[in-house]
Amino acid sequence: MSALDRAIVDPPRVAGVGERSPMAGLERRTVGFVDVLAQSVGATAPAAAAATLPALIAVRSGHSLLVCLVLAWILVAGVGGAVGQFTRRMAAPGSLYTFVTKGIGPSAGFVTAAGQAVGYAFVAMFGLVGAALSVQTFLASVGAAASSAAVTGLGVVALGAVCFVVLRRGIRISARVTLVVEVVSVVLLLVLLVTVLSRAGAEALAAPFRAGLPGPDGLVAGTAVAITAFVGFETAASLGREAERPFLTVPRTMRWTLIVVGFAYLLSAYTQEAGGVSFGLQVADNDVALSALSDGAGVPLLGRLLDLGQATSFLACAIASLTALARVVFSLGREGVLPRAVGFTDPLRSTPLGALAVVVPVTVALPLVLLAGGLSPWRAMSVLIAVSAVGYIVAYVLVAVAAPAFLHRIGELTRSVLWGCGAVAVALTGVLGVYLAVVGGTDPLALSLVGVVVLGGGSGYLYVRMRQPEGFARMGLFDEPISDDLLGGR
């Protein structure tokens, strides 16, 4: 009789595993693979990013979009590898900051939480403004005049309310809608791209490959912006508690999201460059690049549909980013770093209601301030995405540093992980430095917002260390296994 048979007949008692996880209150092990995939895809928002980011990258890098995208893809895949080391081993609603806390301690965890919160919040704001702007573009294109900052502001408020309602109801509905919208938008986009390519001359088709390399500054800054096209892929990790078989689902979701959106971006960027040459359009800083392309290719209806798809993709991006942000805030509330009230969950719907009540209003308010300050919506978006990129990259660097430390602590470090994560951390730190310098030179508003965030985060850190030492010490809570998970549990 084998030990396994004996254990099945008479399961052993396991010390340290209780009936209840510190993250109790959120749903557990109920969200399927498709919905988790929708979270990552929604947060990444490939339809919106494929449409708008080439224009934003080209501002920094000129005609070397493709190189920047490939570099960003490689770096983000490395980050995915580091995050995957954690998501295969623990389920944590706080995701990145919880991982970093487990690897290199609560101070680094706090910085990561700040980076993550800024990344998610500013992308959500970017999404809200983008959605409002796309709706306006669509309305204008069908003849309804609606282009003023006040209308955009109203749109942001209305869409923020939609986000709150959807998020409060639970992620399943929003996730399914998100996925359908993204798939439809990406298919429309591919149709447009193929149409454009089929009508472009050989000269235009070859042009994107002939573009010379930009200077190192432009290349790195372009890569940093290109990274923002991929950010959000890791938000599946924030559903670690809620996902079915999370240690399988979450890493698999991240992997497939990265693979698919990477190809979509490359194709989109290539087409915009080739189409731009073919139809004499400027890609850089063009907020209606796709509409112009579809007009140029003689399929204006496709462009109108894409505007609509883009609007929904932006909204999906806001919803998914807020989903992740709310879980970070919820987790910090459970630990006692933030007030306990934000760790409150809706007893009927098992959603993090306390956190949502804080993060949604904040996400609506800041874009309104920017618009009221006289920024055009497109300009506001470019500021928001720049700040978000800084937050994300800081969090990514720390995760890459924390992964080997964590594996060493639990005795599972291998040499390939050590070298891989080390290379990613060094490269991303370089990208961050150059990016901050470039943003400082071209976009002082974004840099001063980063400064405000750093000051706020710094004083928050001091306050928590002085006044909430027990909350600080509790950082790193995650969804622990419960007795039901064990053999003989029930």
């Binding site: 009789m1 396994l4 048979d5 052993p12 396991v14 595993v17 291998t414 622990e480 039901d484």
Partner: protein, 219 residues
């Protein structure tokens, strides 16, 4: 991308390794680390880490709250629900064959938990009520009383005999695992005269006991 798909390409080998990981966790008990599993099984560390993560993904293993220790997961019962009915069915078949062939009551008892538990009582030769009690007073029924003598018998004894008062008694054959540990006993309930040639009686069931040993000690 299928579960187990990246465990090294040589699938049958990977499956065997995965089962040996589960076996090692069961043997060592909750809290064993991946490093310890790798050392105990002589598997390369990177392979072991991949295997334990795959087993955690499929919920055969659970990573404990300290994040370094492992315990068996709830899905391990899926392995059992296939294995146990097979074993029960084969055991029942062997006993049915014995009962059809031999003019005697055939009772099976398990010693797996260190004490006697009646597992399968011959319905045509009911035992005294006290023998079926909890805990069983097996000595109360001469038709099974020999089972009570098995734990005290030496590891080389293949059977023991016990004759009771009303001219009735039993022979109990020992089922031992490879290490000589008593796992089960089969009792033949027969009239006392037939116990005068215990070796002849045992010869009748020798092959059945061997088959039971194979079924009940199978890993």
């Amino acid at each position: 991308m299928s579960p187990g798909g990246d465990a090294g390409g040589r699938q049958p080998h990977a499956v065997r390794s995965a089962l040996s990981v589960l076996e090692e966790v069961a043997r060592a008990g909750p809290g064993i680390t991946a490093k310890q599993i790798s050392a105990a099984l002589g598997l390369p560390r990177a392979t072991t880490y991949r295997l334990v993560n795959l087993l955690v993904q499929d919920e055969y293993l659970v990573r404990l709250p300290d994040l370094s220790g492992f315990a068996l997961g709830h899905r391990v019962t899926l392995l059992a629900s296939n294995a146990v009915p097979d074993r029960e069915r084969e055991t029942a078949e062997i006993l049915a064959g014995m009962r059809a062939r031999i003019r005697a009551g055939v009772h099976l008892a398990s010693f797996r938990h260190g004490h006697l538990e009646l597992v399968d009582v011959d319905p045509d030769f009911p035992l005294a009520a006290a023998a079926l009690g909890d805990p069983p007073e097996i000595g109360a029924d001469p038709g099974a009383a020999a089972l009570d003598l098995l734990p005290a018998a030496g590891a080389v004894e293949r059977y023991v005999v016990c004759v009771g008062q009303p001219g009735y008694g039993s022979l109990a054959a020992a089922v031992r695992d490879d290490a000589g540990v008593l796992v089960a006993g089969v009792a033949l309930a027969v009239p006392a005269p037939r116990l005068e040639d215990p070796a002849g009686l045992f010869a009748l069931i020798h092959d059945d006991v061997e088959r039971l040993r194979m079924v009940l000690t199978r890993g």
